[in-house]
C-alpha cells in the first residue's frame, strides 16, 4: 500500500502534520496548481498502514485519514515494480 495526498482536495490545514505519530507529513513550501501549500511526505514507507495493512487485513493507525477534514489522505494499492526512492544510510 502507498500513502497519497489528493492534491485536488487538500486545503493545506496541516492537521496531518500535527497528528502523525511517525512525522511522515512535513509542512510544504511550494504552492501547487490550486494555490495551496499542501504537506509533503517524508519517507512514507515508514507508515505502519503502508507496511502492515495487507498483513493484518484492517486499518491500523489511520489517524491522519480520520482527522483530515477534506478526505484527502488515502492508501492506494501499488502497481507492480513501481519506482522507489532509495536512501542509503551510512
Amino acid at each position: 500500500m502507498k500513502l497519497v495526498i489528493d492534491e485536488s482536495r487538500c486545503k493545506g490545514c496541516n492537521l496531518c502534520v500535527l497528528v502523525c505519530p511517525y512525522g511522515i507529513f512535513r509542512e510544504g513550501t511550494e504552492l501547487n496548481s490550486r494555490g495551496i501549500v499542501s504537506p509533503v511526505l517524508d519517507r512514507p514507507e515508514r507508515c505502519t498502514n503502508c507496511r502492515l495493512q495487507a498483513l493484518y487485513g484492517r486499518m491500523l493507525c489511520g489517524v491522519c485519514h480520520m482527522i483530515c477534514p477534506d478526505q484527502a489522505i488515502a492508501w492506494v494499492e501499488e502497481r507492480p515494480f513501481e519506482p522507489h526512492r532509495v536512501e542509503v544510510e551510512f
Partner: protein
C-alpha cells in the same frame, strides 16, 4: 476506515474553510455508520441550517436539509413515519442551542430513537462570527467585541438533564474516541447526543489569538478533561481547573424510548 462510497465524490472538495473540524466529524460519523453496517437505503441524515448542516449534502444517502433549528422536529417526523429507518442528525450549536433549543430538550424528553451529532464550534460560523449561546465567557466575536459576558450553555449537561439515553462529548482532535462514542450512541436505543467541540479557525480562532489550525486544535486538546479525572479530582477535594470542559461518556441509561424498531 471510512468507505469512500459513502461520500458524494462529485461534490468534494466541500465548502468548509481550511482546517474546519466539520469534515473530521463527518469522517468519524461515517466510520461509525460503516461499523454499524447500516444499509444506505435505510439511513437518513437530517440537518438544519449552518456550516455543520451542509454535511448531509456530501453523503450519498437520502437526507433532509431543513429549516433553521427544526432538524430534530423533522427527524422526529421521519422516525415516526418510518421506525425502521436509522436517523442521524447533524446540527450545530447555533442551530441546536439557540433557535432549536426547545426542540432539543423535548426530543431528549421524548427520547426519540436517533443519533444527534452536534458540531459545537462556539460561534455562528456561516453568518460571519456572531456570538452563539456556547461562546465561552471572554471570547471575542463580532457581536461581543469586548468579550462575551454571559455564561455559556453546556449542551451535554442539558441533554443529561432533559433525559437523553446516551450523552457523550469529545473534540475533533479525539477521532478514535469520537468514532467509538458515535457507534455506541447508534447502538443505544433512544436519543443519543454526542457533542463535538470543533475548531473554527476562520471566525472564532482569528479573533481569539488562535489563528492557525494546529493552535486551535492544541487549545481544544489541552482544555479537555476526561470525566473520570474530573470525578477523581472532585472526590479527592482538589480544585478542578476553571477553563476546562469534560470529555467522555457522560451518561448511558435505559429510559423508555420512542420509535424503537420492533
Amino acid at each position: 476506515m471510512i468507505a469512500p462510497d459513502w461520500f458524494r465524490e462529485d461534490r468534494l472538495p466541500h465548502i468548509y474553510c481550511t482546517g474546519c473540524g466539520n469534515g473530521t466529524v463527518i469522517n468519524c460519523t461515517l466510520a461509525a455508520v460503516e461499523e454499524m453496517g447500516w444499509k444506505r437505503d435505510e439511513t437518513v441524515f437530517v440537518s438544519g441550517i449552518g456550516c455543520s448542516s451542509r454535511a448531509p449534502g456530501y453523503i450519498l444517502t437520502d437526507s433532509l436539509h431543513t429549516t433553521h433549528g427544526r432538524a430534530l422536529a423533522f427527524a422526529t417526523g421521519v422516525k415516526m413515519a418510518r421506525p425502521d429507518f436509522n436517523v442521524v442528525v447533524f446540527t450545530g450549536d447555533g442551530d441546536l442551542a439557540a433557535i432549536g433549543g426547545n426542540h432539543f430538550i423535548h426530543a431528549c424528553r421524548r427520547n426519540v430513537d436517533m443519533t444527534v451529532v452536534c458540531m459545537n464550534n462556539h460561534i455562528y460560523g456561516m453568518t460571519g462570527g456572531q456570538g452563539s449561546p456556547t461562546t465561552p465567557p471572554g471570547a471575542i466575536s463580532t457581536t461581543t467585541p469586548y468579550g462575551a459576558s454571559e455564561p455559556a450553555f453546556d449542551l451535554a449537561e442539558l441533554a443529561v438533564a432533559a433525559g437523553a439515553n446516551y450523552v457523550a462529548r469529545w473534540t475533533s482532535y479525539h477521532v478514535k474516541e469520537l468514532t467509538k462514542a458515535v457507534a455506541a450512541g447508534m447502538q443505544t436505543p433512544g436519543l443519543a447526543f454526542i457533542e463535538v467541540r470543533t475548531q473554527c479557525p476562520t471566525n472564532y480562532g482569528r479573533h481569539n489569538k488562535l489563528r492557525s489550525v494546529p493552535a486551535m486544535i492544541e487549545h481544544l486538546r489541552s482544555h479537555a478533561m476526561l470525566v473520570e479525572k474530573r470525578d477523581r479530582l472532585v472526590r479527592e477535594g482538589r480544585p478542578v481547573p476553571e477553563d476546562t470542559f469534560t470529555v467522555g461518556e457522560l451518561v448511558r441509561r435505559n429510559r423508555p424510548a420512542m420509535g424503537v424498531r420492533r
